[in-house]
């Protein structure tokens, strides 16, 4: 089992109780989801990369986000939301 003995974070643990994580908030404000099926995957992908690389560039971010598929949004607002969340997360980290 690959994840044996490892911590696993899922979307259910992303918010602080009922208070949305900045990424969740940014997806909400930027219309980063339609049907919502791919959303947990994109949220967890993005939170991982933004925590590891808060200053990630646009091209690099697109490259990372291209590992997940979305069929509704055309990715436009997903990228926008992750960018907005990155700024907010950096602000909070200060």
């Amino acid at each position: 089992v690959q994840a044996q003995g490892k911590d696993v974070r899922t979307v259910e643990g992303l918010a602080d109780g009922e208070k949305l994580h900045p990424l969740q908030q940014a997806f909400w404000e930027n219309h980063g989801l339609q049907c919502g099926f791919c959303t947990p995957g994109f949220l967890m992908l993005a939170v991982g990369v933004l925590e590891a690389e808060p200053d990630i560039g646009d091209e690099e971010l697109k490259h990372v986000l291209s590992s997940n598929l979305c069929r509704c949004t055309g990715y436009q607002n997903i990228v926008k939301a992750v960018r907005a969340a990155a700024a907010e997360m950096k602000k909070r980290a200060k």
Binding site: T10, V11, E12, L14, A15, L20, Q24, F27, W28, E29, H31, L33, Q34, C35, G36, F37, C38, T39, P40, L43, K62, H63, L65, S66, S67, N68, L69, C70, R71, C72, T73, G74, Y75, Q76, N77, I78, V79
Partner: protein, 711 residues
């Protein structure tokens, strides 16, 4: 406060963002069984025998069914088409005597857990006498011939300055929602009610079908939708698997759950597109089309499913698009092959016919050495001719364009992108050796299909508002939009509103969500109910309920322009879409943010269909695209920023809100615009005659250019 025209955050989102969505796979019922479908691995053959013995003996297996067990259940009916005579081609719920495509269900296994069901399904032995496969619509048997015509075609050709002919083809695509299909059926002996969860798109219609097929009274069957992970025309049609879980819940007296995997989805859910268009146009010296003749060949696959021949019908009805074209005849040949059966996919019949028509416009321009945009201008229906009788019919309605100023939208788009300087810039880049090009395509969409929608709104004593609709959600944001329309009338915040949809147990009438109809039809029913409620509140105290209806005998017609800038890399035969623009007029946008979301999402699907997506088959009818490694869809790395120009110049006179649908304008002309841009980049008008323009096809195009150039 104005709610219509504002872009509030969606009511739907919190639950989904918190990971609390309830999709089909999340459904559970105590004691549930799991269904697994055994599918044919042969594309065409006579069934000699199905040995289920070993599967039955597998631990955990409760039952294994073949056609013999379901033969008393009639096939799923055909909706939305007037074309008759299709019954012989319907699909039985499990294959009878013959298999007709790879993926055709031949048996089902019911077991205590999904693993046992899947393992046992592999033990079912199907013995088939293989027959030759039909894999091209050009030499396959014809299930239906559709013909639509108007005007004097002979006179048009007799007086022609030139005749332009063209053959183009559009690949086999489908919607591919991120959530695969799934359902949970449960029969309650106490009430006698059969409930199927996991419904989508058209729950009321499907409720009636399930009741008819299983011989139950309509009010003893409930279809209920939870969250639905995308639809695009594919999800929520009634499929054999839906009927099988319902039948099993009744007969096995336990809840039955079914969730397909992606491999099954790509084999079993409806395919779409896959048409060949042969066009012949009589034109005058300005490029004005005097008459147009079209022969269309649709690769329908192995059976006729719920959509009948709707896609081909729509292609014939909508092919003339935004142009005057005074004489027209289209004939669509719906041909049966040994491939997955077809249904609709976002902008069905229009993605295809727009590609053909707009390729024709470019071909006319090339032939007469005119500017492609100028040729379009010459042909556009002028605003003073609105409403414009298109002279065709489809979906039981006469096609009459209700409103529109096509030339104005074209002008606005060219201004927005600063077309003159863009042209200069591309010219400069081409001179320096880059293969870049600009292409543009125009279209008319259709939306707001009737006949009727109902809504019931209740203002509760605690100040909350419940809006019960017969619509369905596929993720498009209908809760927010219905709440905005209601809020506009009642002047209450949308956060106080709860929108019910996709539940046959909550409202007796519903038409669901397809054909870009919800904002128009359900939206106007909600407006009517809210107005009735406001009236009642003058004399009554909450809780107060009111009902509203909206009826329509005609569809309405959004329209738009797509434009693309592409760069071709001849060394790799790769195509980069540098810019993509969608201009669309939908009369009135209830929520511009959601409309832009629809248009952008559609555009990216359209780019996928233009460059990447295709179900190919070999000569034996074996599918070559059965995973996401073969059926390529755009990721965020392949798509540019989608530049959207949303206009409200032509409100629909057919409904009190003035709205038209926004679901399909984003995808409609994407293939056509990209093809034109690739032509321009290569400097070879008419080079692209087939979608998708895969690297292999582009390579072939550039190769033919090199050899042509040599003595």
């Amino acid at each position: 406060v104005k709610y219509i025209g504002a872009s509030p955050k969606r009511l739907e989102d919190r639950t989904l963002l918190l990971g609390r969505g309830q999709f089909a796979a999340d459904l559970k019922a105590p004691g549930q069984l799991h269904m697994r479908v055994c599918r044919s691995s042969v594309s065409h053959g006579k069934i000699l025998g199905i040995d289920t013995g070993e599967a039955r003996r597998h631990p955990g297996v409760v039952a294994v069914w073949t056609y013999e067990d379901v033969k008393h259940v009639p096939p799923i009916g055909i909706r939305l088409t007037k074309v008759g005579g299709l019954e012989p081609y319907q699909q039985t719920n499990l294959a009878k005597d013959y298999v007709r495509y790879v993926g055709d269900p031949v048996a089902v296994v019911f077991a205590e857990d999904p693993y046992a069901a899947e393992d046992a399904a592999e033990l079912v032995r199907l013995e088939v006498d293989e027959l030759p496969a039909k894999v091209s619509p050009l030499d396959a048997p014809e299930a239906a011939l559709i013909e639509k015509s108007y005007g004097d075609l002979a006179a048009a050709f007799a007086g022609a300055h030139a005749v332009v002919e063209l053959e183009v083809a559009i690949g086999r695509h489908t919607g591919v929602p991120m959530e695969t299909r799934g359902a949970l059926a449960d029969f309650d002996p106490a009430s006698g009610i059969l409930t199927m969860r996991g419904a989508a798109k058209v729950p009321h219609y499907n409720r009636d079908q399930v009741a008819r097929m299983l011989d139950l009274p309509g009010d003893m069957v409930h279809l209920i939708q939870g969250h639905v992970g995308g639809g695009f025309g594919v999800r929520g049609e009634l499929y054999p698997e839906d009927v099988l879980v319902c039948q099993a819940a009744l007969r096995l007296k336990r809840p039955v759950k079914w969730v397909e995997d992606r491999f099954e989805h790509l084999l079993a859910a409806n395919h779409s597109r896959d048409q060949v268009h042969r066009l012949r146009a009589a034109v005058d010296a300005r490029g004005f089309v005097l008459g147009l003749e079209a022969e269309i060949y649709t690769d329908q696959g192995g059976y006729i499913r719920t959509h009948g021949v709707t896609v081909s019908d729509l292609a014939c009805a909508m092919l003339p698009g935004p142009y005057v074209i005074p004489a027209y005849r289209a004939r669509a040949h719906v041909r049966l092959t040994n491939k997955t059966p077809c249904g609709t996919y976002r902008a069905p019949g229009r993605y295809e016919s727009t590609f053909a028509r707009e390729r024709l416009m470019d071909a006319i321009a090339a032939r007469l050495k005119l500017d492609p945009i100028e040729v379009r201008r010459v042909n556009l229906i002028p605003p003073e001719r609105m409403p414009f009788d298109r002279g065709t019919d489809t979906l039981g309605t006469h096609v009459v364009f209700d409103s529109g100023n096509y030339a104005l939208l074209l002008q606005k788009l060219l201004k927005k992108i600063d077309y003159e300087s863009l042209k200069d810039e591309l010219q400069r880049r081409r001179k320096s050796g880059e293969k870049v090009g600009f292409g543009l395509a125009m279209f008319v969409e259709k939306s707001g299909l009737g006949p009727a929608d109902k809504a019931v709104i209740t203002l509760h004593a605690d100040g909350t508002v419940e809006i019960v609709t017969g619509a369905a959600s596929l993720g498009q944001g209908i809760e927010t939009v219905m709440a905005q329309i209601c809020a506009e009338e009642l002047d209450l915040p949308i956060e106080r509103m709860r929108v019910v949809h996709g539940r046959t147990d909550r409202i007796d009438h519903g038409s669901g969500a397809f054909a870009s109809r919800v904002t128009v039809m359900t939206g106007c029913a909600v407006q009517a109910a809210a107005q009735a409620l406001k009236e009642k509140l003058k004399t009554e105290k909450p809780p107060v309920s009111a009902e509203g209806w909206f009826r329509a005998t005609h569809m309405n017609y959004p329209y738009g322009v797509h434009a693309a800038v592409v760069r071709v890399d001849e060394a790799t035969s790769g195509i980069v879409v540098e810019r993509f623009m969608v201009a669309c007029d939908i009369g009135r946008a209830v929520n511009p943010m959601l409309v832009e979301g629809q248009l952008s999402g559609g555009a990216v699907q359209g780019i996928g269909g233009a460059l990447l997506e295709e179900f190919l088959y070999d000569e034996a009818g074996q599918p070559l695209a059965t995973t996401f490694a073969d059926y390529l869809m755009p990721t965020c790395a392949e798509v540019p920023r989608i530049e959207v120009l949303l206009t409200e110049d032509a409100p629909s006179p057919l409904n009190p809100l003035g709205v038209k649908g926004a679901g399909e304008g984003g995808i409609n002309a994407a293939g056509a615009a990209i093809a034109a841009a690739v032509d321009a980049a290569l400097g070879r008008p008419g080079a692209v005659a087939r979608l998708p323009i895969t690297p292999r096809r582009l390579h072939r195009i550039t190769l033919s250019q090199t050899t042509e150039g040599k003595p």
